[in-house]
């Protein structure tokens, strides 16, 4: 919403300086976005006289002007300046507008410098209206009356020294979309007095030749009230300078007196109006829902095709206007218009919003009607506009025709001054609270407050509190400490799951991963690679084709991130993300997972030969480290996972067939190719919530059980078939003696052609260390040998392995 200071002062009697008004507006909730003070732009332009204009010696079109200027203001010593001027109207004795050297010319964007034009010095400029951006005129320089005060600032003399204020109006405040509403807020704040305003009805000189009817379907909701009248014999020329200046100041282009008048009331009183050329209306006007399919060429130079039910105004020939949104071009007023029909209606905000949205029209009328104009002002607005049309365009007004009635918006809410104090925490005396509401137009009856007709947003007691607080000034609100929920040291607040999430994140960073946050939506193809991309997780209105489906997995986002980094020359990557993945499109069909992705080498090249490509065992170790960090119980390895993994080089860490804590492995080469990632790439995904929580939380650790007796380690190398998994050997060995065997560890795998050459085709060797911990006495050699024999026996039974000779 834009307006000027002088416009505001039409409604507000105030001596307050501009800065105080701006501060108050922002504090009141009418946030000042921008202030344009013409003095900043045009303050340097002053009125000057051409003492003499003669022909330039070397240029036909240029004149040499001796200009009488007053650098220190009117009434001070004049100074003569030579200016070369190309304007055809530059002449001896002309009083015009002078810009000295150093001035920024807004219309051309040029900073004036002293110049030499065709051999003659020029030390300033005589300006056109367009150069000052005060008019479109560029046929010549400004030609002021001879009695214009020499040396005065042009903007002061021309009445252009009027700051423009642009405020952001929140959707609940339609009343502030009129200058008067803004003035009312300021007056309630105490920044002046709201000027009284009397609107006298204009008596009709004749019966209105155009009748109006509202379709019964729309009377309840849609168009409760439609009023209008014909004004005959108007002259629709340009509007007067003051009106043009106001509209221009707020960024509107003056069009003609009639159009400018309707625009004026839109901004002055938040009362959008429409004028039809009455000569082009056939028969009577009817407000009705569109049948669908009608087309209307609108005043904004676009043509709209109407959907069934959209609210329109038609005459006997067809649709003439999209009600409350935009008028039709065929019945619009022109310079030749002599008879007009002036419309003032109250439209239902929801209906206007729906149609405006469907047609994508953003007009000042729609903007206001959908937020809610004052229904009670429909008639007075019509009268005020009639009076202005008669004043500026002449003519005679008919009687008013109307259909419908002002909707009853009277309502009241309990007003409790004590509640205001309690909720806001500010001690506002009851008298002040009552005075505030009264100043805003509320009617107080005992402890009930009736909102004014222009405040559709007031819908309860809480709204009354807001009004009082707003006017009292939230800027002045003093902070008051809030006590802790209970005295003493604050209690921890995080849930076990939240602590897990944090632990997972920090462990991964400690393992060398860099945390990423990628979008929750990905493209359908990438989603499909990971078993997602169904319609259940499809967005109806994605912002791009890369963000159409909720992600089923974090890997596609991380792999895409890896591909982007690879194109930037980063080959070795360790990226991770902790975030939601989606199993469906219903609320709650999401789980929190942590995924780590390693690509390329485990480290940069170094002189210690420690560089090696990442492999599946990095991923397994990562997964186990993070599982340990979140307190998950020991899990078993299961071979194989989903389709996105290398089928022979992936596994899952599970507590049971259905309880997967984590998956790890090499990413399937087809997935890498599809996402343009150069491998090797290994990854793990951890289901943060899957691991069961410990049953009872205790800070006490179990007692440490250590033995003073020396532990014994024995190594065994078994020859087994190549497809025997290490886990089988380890499990078998562990089972050889449940009390004595403390741990079994695999320390070597010998496989491949060299191993087969030694041990036979399809064979490999696995070497394990078995650690025996004596419990109550030192073991004899015979006892150790007995356990060793059982280990060999168990492994042989379970895997067919034999001791390597």
């Amino acid at each position: 919403m834009k307006f000027t200071l002088s416009w505001l002062k039409d409604h507000l009697e105030t001596e307050a300086p501009l800065s105080a008004i701006l501060d108050a507006l922002t504090d009141l909730g009418l946030e000042v976005e921008e202030v344009d003070d013409p003095a900043d732009r045009l303050g340097a332009f002053s009125i000057a006289r051409v003492i003499e204009a003669v022909q330039h010696p070397d240029a036909d079109r240029l004149r040499l002007c001796r200009v009488e200027t007053y650098p220190d203001g009117p009434g001070t010593a004049p100074q003569e300046v030579q200016v070369v001027c190309g304007a055809p109207n530059a002449r001896t004795g002309l009083v015009g507008v002078f810009a000295p050297v150093g001035t920024h010319i807004p219309g051309t964007g040029v900073d004036l410098k002293p110049g030499v034009i065709r051999g003659v010095e020029s030390n300033g400029m005589l300006c056109s209206g367009r150069e000052l951006e005060v008019s479109e005129d560029h046929d010549g320089i400004l030609d002021l009356p001879a009695d214009a005060p020499l040396g005065a600032r042009y903007i002061d003399w021309a009445g252009l020294n009027d700051p423009m204020i642009y405020i952001k109006v929140t959707p609940n405040r339609p009343d502030a979309l009129g200058v008067r509403g803004i003035a009312r807020d300021l007056a309630a704040r105490g920044l002046g007095r709201l000027k009284p305003r009397a609107i006298a009805p204009v008596p009709g000189a004749f019966a209105c030749p155009v009748s109006v009817t509202i379709d019964p379907a729309l009377k309840e909701r849609g168009c409760p009230l439609f009023m209008g009248r014909v004004i005959r014999g108007v002259t629709n020329g340009p509007s007067p300078a003051w009106l043009q200046a106001r509209l221009r100041a707020i960024g509107l282009r003056p069009i003609s007196a009639l159009v400018d008048i309707t625009n004026f009331f839109t901004f002055d009183l938040n009362r959008p109006l429409h004028v039809f050329d009455a000569g082009l209306i056939r028969g009577s006007l009817r407000i009705h829902p569109a049948a669908g399919g009608e087309e209307l060429a609108a005043l904004n130079d676009k043509t709209y095709r109407l959907a069934p039910g959209m609210m329109v105004i038609s005459d006997d020939a067809g649709v003439e206007s999209i009600a409350g949104i935009v008028g039709g071009a065929p019945s619009g007023v022109t310079e030749g218009t002599t008879d007009v029909f002036l419309e003032s209606a109250y439209w239902d905000p929801i209906t206007i919003a729906a149609t405006g949205r469907a047609l994508k029209v953003n007009s000042d009328a729609r903007y206001r009607f959908e937020r809610g104009v004052d229904p009670a002002f429909t008639g007075p607005g019509l009268e005020a506009a009639t009076a202005m049309i008669l004043e500026l365009c002449g003519g005679t007004a008919s009687e008013v025709v109307s259909d419908g009635a002002v909707p009853d918006t009277d309502r009241s809410y309990a007003f409790d001054p004590a509640r205001v104090v309690s909720l806001v925490g500010m001690d506002i005396p009851e008298d002040d609270q009552r005075a505030t509401l009264t100043a805003l137009g509320f009617r107080l009856e005992g402890d009930r407050a009736h909102p004014p007709t222009w405040r559709p947003d007031i819908l309860g007691e809480a709204d009354l509190i807001e009004e009082v607080a707003r006017i009292a000034s939230l800027t002045k609100l003093a902070a008051r400490p809030m006590a802790r929920p209970q005295p003493g040291v604050p209690r921890p607040v995080l849930t076990p799951m939240q602590r897990r999430e944090g632990a997972a994140r920090r462990t991964m960073a400690a393992l060398g991963f860099n945390e990423c946050i990628t979008y929750s939506f990905i493209d359908a193809d990438a989603a499909a690679l990971f078993g997602g991309g169904s319609d259940a997780v499809r967005l109806e209105n994605p912002i791009s084709s890369e963000m159409t489906h909720l992600r089923p997995d974090l890997l596609p986002g991380l792999l895409r991130a890896a591909a982007r980094n690879q194109t930037r020359g980063q080959g070795d990557l360790a990226l991770f993300e902790v975030g939601p993945v989606f199993t469906g499109g219903e609320p709650g069909e999401e789980t929190l997972v942590a995924t780590g992705l390693r690509i390329g080498h485990a480290g940069p090249r170094d002189p210690h030969a420690s560089r090696r490509p990442v492999d599946v065992f990095d991923a397994r170790a990562d997964a186990e480290a993070v599982l340990a960090a979140i307190g998950a119980p020991a899990a078993r390895i299961w071979r194989g996972t989903g389709p996105a993994w290398h089928p022979g080089r992936s596994g899952a860490l599970r507590l049971g067939p259905k309880l997967t804590l984590a998956e790890f492995g090499e990413v399937h080469p087809r997935v890498l190719a599809a996402l343009d990632v150069k491998g090797p790439a290994v990854a793990f995904t951890l289901h943060i919530a899957a691991a069961p929580l410990p049953r009872a939380r205790t800070t006490t650790r179990p007692a440490l059980a250590v033995s003073d007796l020396q532990a014994v380690e024995r190594d065994f190398a078994f020859v087994v078939a190549s497809d025997i998994e290490a886990q089988a050997v380890l499990t078998a060995a562990q089972g050889a003696d449940k009390t004595l065997i403390d741990s079994v560890r695999l320390f070597d795998e010998f496989t491949g052609p060299k191993a087969e050459a030694q041990m036979g085709e399809g064979r490999k060797s696995l070497a394990i260390t078995v650690r025996l911990q004596p419990r109550d006495r030192t073991l004899t050699e015979a006892e150790i040998e007995a356990v060793a024999a059982r280990v060999v026996d168990k492994v042989a039974k379970a895997t067919g392995g034999t001791l390597r000779g």
């Binding site: 959707p171 309690s422 902070a479 860099n514 929750s520 963000m547």
Partner: protein
Amino acid sequence: MEGVSELRERYLAEVAAAADPAALEAVRLAALGKKGAVSLKMRELGGMDAEARKTAGPALNALKDELDAAIRARRAGLEDAALDARLAAEWLDVTLPGRPRPTGTLHPVSQVMEELTAIFADMGFAVAEGPQVESDWFNFDALNIPPEHPARQEHDTFFMARADGDDRPPHVLRTHTSPVQIRAMQAQGAPIRVIAPGRVYRMDMDQTHTPMFHQVEGLAIDRDLSMANLKWVLEEFCRAFFEVDGVELRFRASHFPFTEPSAEVDIRCSWAGGQLKIGEGDSWMEILGSGMVHPHVLRAGGIDPEKWQGFAFGMGIDRIAMLKYGIPDLRAFFESDLRWLRHYGFSALDMPGLAGGLSR
């Protein structure tokens, strides 16, 4: 047969001349071995008379001790020399780089979320969570934004596709973290203090907007909480978060459907030299929206507005991260450029806490 003094002279000389441990051992055997010169001499003691033995015995013993000590000293000297020689040969170029150690990072959003948690936990706020896909009731209606409300259009909502025949209103990707307020109130009732950080989604993508970003919601409901308490909580938060003692906040009346009265909150700052400084200067920067929870919203959360009252606030996590840590571009938050992650990320051990401070 040589006398003691000759033996002493000779073997001390030989000990001193032994060039390596083997030569030294040969000297030791020759002097002190079973058949060594000193040992043989000692055997002669048996044939001496008592008087002679009295002087010769101690003299031989002293000689033995002296030679023994000389051999040990010489051996230590030889070993030292050998060690020195070996160490000299073991010279390495220690200016070579050390073995690489992995260094990972946390994303600034994660770090700031933990900072928020640390501050608000101290004021008794727990952390609440809610789903990213929300019903339109939780995202809008329950927050006093009815279907026709203009605010609904301003949210640039992402909708989930509906299958044919499914006539329910489409679910949305939550446009703010405010629906978590409703879920938390329904789950917990009053009194309640929670913050709800998380991802939110809006259909907007340009220089300063991304279709996904992060917000944190705060909610406190009790018998007598007021807007003055809200202001204090936010001042304390800003002081702690920005780690500046002199923060100054300005409350400005505004409008949000879910709070009444509503206030936008500005923080005093300076942009001198293109650098943001909180708590000084003459500029005001909007950092969050807040207000007293609307009675309709309390009711939607199952809380009686006649008995309970309180406040709510919301702010952009990415935005306050940018302000605090001088990160220029929001879009880079989600691009996962390794150079950015390393530069703006945080170490695994940078755990924000009130005792040691939020940041290093």
